[in-house]
């Protein structure tokens, strides 16, 4: 008998942003695997086992989950936001490719979720507006020179830039360095959005310009969105500022 492995996107945090498809998959699982803070968000169901693991243990977690599924269980691997965006879906695929042949026979299902970048963008207006890129600022799995090259390519070609993993305890300087690089490529007034833990009780959303953006305003739970020279701010008396990027590229930037 062969089980199934379902990789489930939990969305940005609030259960109101968890899709019915994801809820059902969570209910139907025999066992759940995930980073401890994500597992804590999942409602308890009788008879399920839970296997919490640390951050950065993605491959080991995927291997344990695949082994359990190969033993016949209905296994769920939970991932914050969307599992395909710096989440567990790629780690599961890596583990399958390098694992025993039996793992290739498993049914593998990925259930998408609302990724953090979409939740942050929604809170502030429409900063992604037109073409954009999504980039992890973590140099744990790729050299910093690759990140610098991608930042330059994205900024000079006019993509809005969304940064995941901007800062961690072991990576304190990377975001500030990215801002310094982008200041040489984009106007000083370019809007920068800091969206932390959007959809959760400790949510905090802030807006700066590239000139004033301070890397110390971000932490591991922050997604940072940097506009293009066309990104605009709409000031509103008594209401929050709306940040948006017009859909067309030909619109004047002033």
């Amino acid at each position: 008998m062969s089980g199934t492995l379902t990789v489930i996107g939990l969305g940005p945090g609030d259960l109101e942003q968890l899709t019915p498809q994801a809820s059902e998959a969570l209910r139907n699982a025999d066992s759940l695997y995930g980073y401890a803070p994500y597992l804590e968000r999942v409602p308890q169901h009788a008879g399920q086992t839970r296997h919490a693991s640390d951050n950065r243990q993605e491959i080991q977690r995927a291997q344990q989950a695949l082994a359990a599924a190969a033993g016949g269980a209905r296994v769920a691997v939970v991932s914050g936001g969307d599992p395909g965006v710096f989440g567990m879906a790629a780690a599961v695929c890596e583990a399958i490719e390098s694992g025993p042949a039996a793992w290739r026979e498993l049914e593998v299902i990925v259930i998408p979720g609302v990724s953090a970048v979409l939740a942050v963008a929604a809170r502030i207006g429409a900063p992604l507006g037109h073409d954009f890129c999504v980039l992890s600022l973590s140099d744990n799995l790729k050299p910093w020179s690759v990140i610098e090259r991608r930042l330059e390519a994205a900024a000079t070609a006019g993509f809005v830039i969304a940064l995941y993993n901007p800062v961690s305890r072991t990576r304190p300087w990377q975001l500030q360095s990215a801002f310094e690089q982008l200041r040489r490529l984009l106007p000083a007034r370019t809007p920068v959005v800091f969206g932390r833990a959007v959809g959760r009780p400790d949510e905090r959303v802030g807006v700066a310009t590239l000139a004033t953006a301070d890397g110390s305003h971000a932490d591991m739970s922050t997604c940072v969105i940097i506009g293009t020279e066309q990104t605009r701010s709409i000031e509103r008396a008594g209401k929050s500022t709306l940040i948006y990027t017009p859909r067309g590229a030909a619109r004047p930037s002033t």
Copy 2:
């Protein structure tokens, strides 16, 4: 009295991928505005009025919805996928900026949804895996030369590329031209995913390589994902092929 305007992401199609937050906002609206095929997906609620409009009528639709909200109504504007990704959120912001002052006093809420690129990626494995960009191939609102520049920047810097609006009746050649350009920049074996109407009854997902990718396999409802030189295929006997991009950039590409 001033109403509210809520821009709601419907997700990729299946109601099982509509968030509870979006469902509630749809229930609570006095009137709904949207492109007709999107409105048709929304469950009927007594007492609501519906205002369907054509594709490409985004600004007029946004203006009508804002005028209704300024009249005191609870107005919902629906958008397929996520409203911030080539959806109605930017059009609403554009209309507010150029509209009467009263529109700036409205409460504007954007409710994110599962965007098509996330749904397509989930169906096939984890092609977005690491850094990626999202690009509209429509040259209705920007010159084709800008699109070519962005394709080159993204491909040479190692971003996975997701294309929205790859083809329409009035834009028949653009996707084929993009493939030709990318063949000069990326290996012939680079995986290409065609995901059409994912989550809907007429869903169709196909995989090709950059060498064999045929623009005529896409239509207006297709999202196309083009990998990097690191994107991999896992063949599985009796199961669908998994396409994924490893999380790290340093991994060998063979």
